[in-house]
Each structure stands twice: as C-alpha cells, then as structure tokens.
C-alpha cells in the first residue's frame, strides 16, 4: 500500500472573505466574526458587573449593563468544558445579550472560507461552532455567537433576575 505524500493545506472553497477575531481560552484558539463583537474590554473595567443569583446555568455568574441593556456574562472556559483560568478580557457581543469572558485576543485576520463541521461531530459543538477555518496551517473552530446561551437559557436567566429584583423591592418595602 502506498503512503500518500505530505501536501500543503489548500481550501477547495472560495468564498467572500470574513474578518474574524482570534482569541484564546485556556490556551485553546478560537475565531469569532469581528462584526459580531461590539466591544472588547478588560475585566478590570467591569467594576459595575452585578452578580446574578442562580444555580441552573453555572457558566453565567454576572451581568453587565451596556447602553441600557443587560448582558449575561458567560465564562468561556465553563462553556467549552475547559479548565477554568482567570479571564482578562470580555467580548461584548452585538445583537445578542451575551458577553464572553476570554483569556487573550491574539489578533484579527481574514478567513476565506468556513468549512462545515464534519458529520462525525454530534455533540454540543454543533451549537458552539459555525464551522471550522484554516488559519496558517491551523484548524480553528469558528464560534457561533448564538451558541453561548439558548433561548431557554435566556428565559431562565431573565426569570432569575426578575426574581432577584422582586426580592430586593420586597426587602426595601420591609425596611421602610
């Protein structure tokens, strides 16, 4: 049987290029579409983050307010099942009430194609990723912004916040 020779990586799909942000979480490299990120901030600047009291979705511990909207802060380590490290940055996403704690921004780059996840993948990664991209001989998962929290997750988190708010107003009324 003949062994096939090493070959350079090539993409068979040419599509419109897309700007992505490469970021790391627990030393794992990910990409996210640049136009899905509204803002990148240091976690040190998030002094106004509020702790959210709920035990159902453990990857969400805090909320932040931006432009009169409440964003749920998702710990990417917990989301992807990676060992938890102290995040230094938060990606505030556009058009979705999610902010993601990450370790480091590597850089921005352009990708020419996103390859669909092979059918072999049948787990949670099908929600996590839009697909896979080649970036400098490396296969990198392209994160789906909508994969961090489901509609059901939002409902439960909104419910937990509403409950906490009603407790606070009740406590305030008792003090009066």
């Amino acid at each position: 049987m003949k062994i096939a020779a090493q070959e350079p990586i090539k993409s068979r799909r040419i599509r419109r290029s897309e700007a992505v942000i490469l970021f790391t979480v627990a030393n794992q490299l990910f990409a996210i579409a640049a136009d899905s990120v509204q803002e990148i901030r240091s976690t040190d600047s998030l002094g106004a983050a509020l702790e959210i009291e709920q035990q159902e979705i453990l990857k969400v511990r805090h909320t932040i307010e931006r432009n009169h909207r409440t964003y749920f802060v998702v710990n990417a380590c917990a989301h992807f099942g990676l060992r938890v490290v102290r995040p230094t940055l938060v990606l505030i996403l556009r058009q979705i009430r999610v902010a993601v704690l990450v370790d480091k921004i590597e850089r921005m780059t352009e990708i020419s194609a996103i390859h669909a996840l092979p059918r072999a993948f049948i787990g949670a990664e099908c929600q996590w990723y839009r697909g896979l991209a080649y970036v400098e001989d490396q296969v990198i998962p392209v994160v789906s912004p909508t994969g961090f929290l489901t509609a059901n997750d939002f409902q439960r988190l909104d419910g937990a916040m509403a409950e906490a708010a009603s407790h606070q107003s009740l406590e305030g009324a008792i003090q009066i």
Binding site: M1, K2, I3, A4, A5, Q6, E7, I9, K10, S11, R12, Q28, F30, E56, I57, L58, K59, A78, H79, F80, G81, L82, H115, P118, R119, A120, F121, I122, G123, A124, E125, W128, L132, Y134, D137, Q138, V139, I140, P141
Partner: protein, 156 residues
C-alpha cells in the same frame, strides 16, 4: 498481495491496531496518510479525537484503538482514511493505525456469533484469522464518555 484466489474473494486492507490486525473493505479505503498534525479543539463527540486535513478537506479522526486495543492511540501514527456512510452521504473519516498496511484478496467468512456488531466477518490469511471491521458500526458503538476536552454537559 496475498491470500487465496476465489470467485467470492474481495479486496481488503489489513491494518495494525495495537497488537492485532484487522481488515477493512478496500473499496471504502481512500488513502493511507502519513502522521500529519492532529488538530484538536473542544468538542464532546464520543470517539472523535480531532481532525486532520487531507486533500483540502477536513477529515474527522476516530480513535478506535480505545475500543479495539483498549487504550488511546499514541501520537504520530499513520491514518487510514476511509468512507463513512451516512443516510445519503459519505464522509471521509480517519482512524489512527500502527505502521504498515497490506492489501489482500480473500473470501469473507461469517463472524463468530458472539462477535461485536462492528465485526462484519473474518478472513483467513495463512494461519491467521483476521476480523473485518464495519467502520460505521465501529464508530457508533462507543459509549458516551468524556474525551480530552469534553464533558457530558459542559454548558451547565
């Protein structure tokens, strides 16, 4: 080439996995790839170890040695790339193998009654009985267990 001539004989690729040799139907095998880089990222699919890139395509790698040899595959092994059939779609899929492959032509015989469902038959090559693997049955026979990155429900 080895094996006996027979009108019912078909071609098989013999592969070494751990301490044993297995056969796969040659019509499903597309190439034996060198020990290229295994790309890994967080995921929770049972048996999937990562992906390799072959001929411009992203090919999932199934670490079947956990089932066939009872251990994880060591790094830098060769990959046998074969087609895995889905309903109306086939996908190139790779399994890590140890060392060389051999192409044989031999008639297939029924598997033992107590063989796992991923053994579709056996070949007799000289003194050796070699089990024939059904790739699709093999990669779907794995129990859901955490892999290097994944957990049963990491999103909790």
């Amino acid at each position: 080439m080895s094996g006996s001539d027979n009108t019912n004989a078909k071609s098989y690729v013999l592969v070494q996995i751990g301490d044993r040799r297995f056969a796969m139907s040659a019509v499903t095998v597309s190439e034996l790839a060198p020990p290229v880089r295994l790309h890994q990222f967080p995921q929770t699919s049972p048996l999937v170890a990562g992906v390799i890139v072959r001929r411009g395509r992203i090919v999932p790698v199934y670490d079947v040695s956990r089932i066939l040899a009872g251990k994880n595959s060591p790094a830098h092994r060769f990959y046998l790339v074969a087609s895995r059939e889905f309903d109306s779609f086939s996908e190139p899929s790779a399994i890590p193998i140890d060392g060389e492959c051999e192409l044989v032509t031999a008639p297939i015989q029924p598997s033992d009654a107590n063989s796992p469902n991923y053994i579709s038959g056996r070949l007799t090559i000289g003194e050796e009985n070699i089990e024939v693997l059904d790739l699709n049955a093999l990669v779907t026979s794995a129990p859901a267990e955490p892999n290097e990155f994944g957990y049963a429900d990491p999103r909790g």
